[in-house]
């Protein structure tokens, strides 16, 4: 098996921040509501950040087909949120 890459990446940093944040929320200390809101924002935003990173890689490779596919996926995902929000009880 090839040697695993053990460099500490931005993704690792996000995971550590989420872990520490979730412990802070569990303790229920002052300001934990703000931390909880930040946790949700990070959990919702990380796939968008990853897709943007992939898109950038494919732009540099000149892979227009998958740049277009990723753009469509962004639009569809946002549309899915809006449709589900529209269907939500009480909305």
């Amino acid at each position: 098996m090839t040697a695993p890459d053990r460099r500490f990446s931005a993704g690792d940093l996000v995971a550590v921040v989420l872990g520490v944040g979730s412990i802070v929320v569990m303790t229920g200390t002052t300001g934990s509501n703000v931390v909880l809101a930040a946790l949700v924002v990070v959990l919702v935003a990380w796939p968008a950040a990853l897709l943007a990173m992939l898109m950038w890689r494919w732009i540099r490779q000149g892979d227009r087909r998958f740049v277009a596919a990723t753009t469509v996926l962004f639009i569809v995902a946002i549309g899915a949120v809006l449709v589900s929000r529209w269907l939500a009880p009480g909305s």
Partner: protein, 276 residues
């Protein structure tokens, strides 16, 4: 605020389901949510915990997979377009169909997938002597790719029957949208058994896909005001289990991963059919 016993229970349950999810390529909410309901949680409160666990687990696993060759992101993006469209359609259709009928369909689909994958022997994609990773992996405009197995050998693979796969991913997304799950338990078998993608690649790619699905669902729950501090232990368990599962999975032989997936799918099928 939750009692210490509840916190420990949620962390342990989330960690175990996230680990299984990262190894077998299933989101895990379809296991965690029914178990929480059995423990006395209401389905409305348990669903955001399930999606938070899946999103955290997928993040931790994707960080590990992105360093290696297992996740096929081009395939994931292509299939997730159909799955997300299906999920939006499923959310619309769910108003019209009896929920219990959907659950039974979902359970039977999981059991059939388990039997098909579990009874198959041998490997479709085998190592090729002299093959170089740079000649096959991450090629511009191509879904076909290659991965490195537990012994470091290069295994090129082709993606078969893409139009059928896209259609089935749309169906998987529709069922996921109807039932409020991430649909990983359907996506991985479709990739493995229909597209003939190696099971470890299928699992890693599905983890990337369910991360997108779970984040969209979590955004909806947040907009509905259904996210509480109770998701914190699910996030911690998901991070720990997802990372551990993603570190272990590349070291496991593909047939073992397929058997783990089959057992998990069979259990999921029974849970969703039997649970009230």
């Amino acid at each position: 605020m939750l009692e210490l016993g509840d916190l420990v229970a949620i962390i342990a349950l989330s960690g175990a389901t996230a680990m299984l999810g990262a190894i077998g390529g299933i989101g895990g909410a379809v296991i965690l949510v029914p178990v929480l309901v059995l423990l006395g949680w209401s389905p409305l409160d348990a669903a955001p915990l399930g999606m938070a666990m899946v999103a955290a687990s997928a993040l931790a696993a994707t960080v590990v997979h992105t360093r290696g060759t297992l996740a096929n992101h081009r395939l994931g993006v292509t299939m997730e377009i159909a799955a997300s469209l299906g999920a939006a359609a499923g959310a619309l259709v769910s108003i019209l169909i009896a929920p219990r009928a959907l659950v039974v369909v979902l359970g039977v689909a999981a059991i059939v997938s388990a039997l098909v994958g579990g009874t198959r022997t041998g490997q479709r994609n085998l190592p090729v002597d002299g093959a170089r990773m740079t000649d096959h992996h991450d090629q511009r405009g191509r879904l076909d790719s290659a991965y490195s197995d537990e012994k470091g050998r290069v295994i090129p693979y082709r993606v078969h029957r893409v139009p059928l796969g896209v259609a089935l991913m749309g169906l998987a997304g529709t069922i996921a949208g109807m039932t409020g799950s991430s649909g990983g338990y359907i996506k991985t078998p479709v990739m493995s058994e229909v597209l003939h993608v190696p099971v470890k690649v299928a699992a890693a790619t599905t983890v990337f896909m369910v991360g997108i699905t779970a984040s969209v669902s979590l955004a909806v729950y947040a907009l509905q005001g259904r996210v509480t501090a109770a998701i914190a232990p699910a996030i911690l368990g998901g991070l720990l289990g997802g990372r551990f599962g993603a570190r272990v999975q590349p070291r496991l032989p593909a047939p073992l991963v397929r058997r783990v997936l089959s057992v998990a799918l069979f259990a999921i099928g029974l849970i969703v059919v039997v649970s009230p």
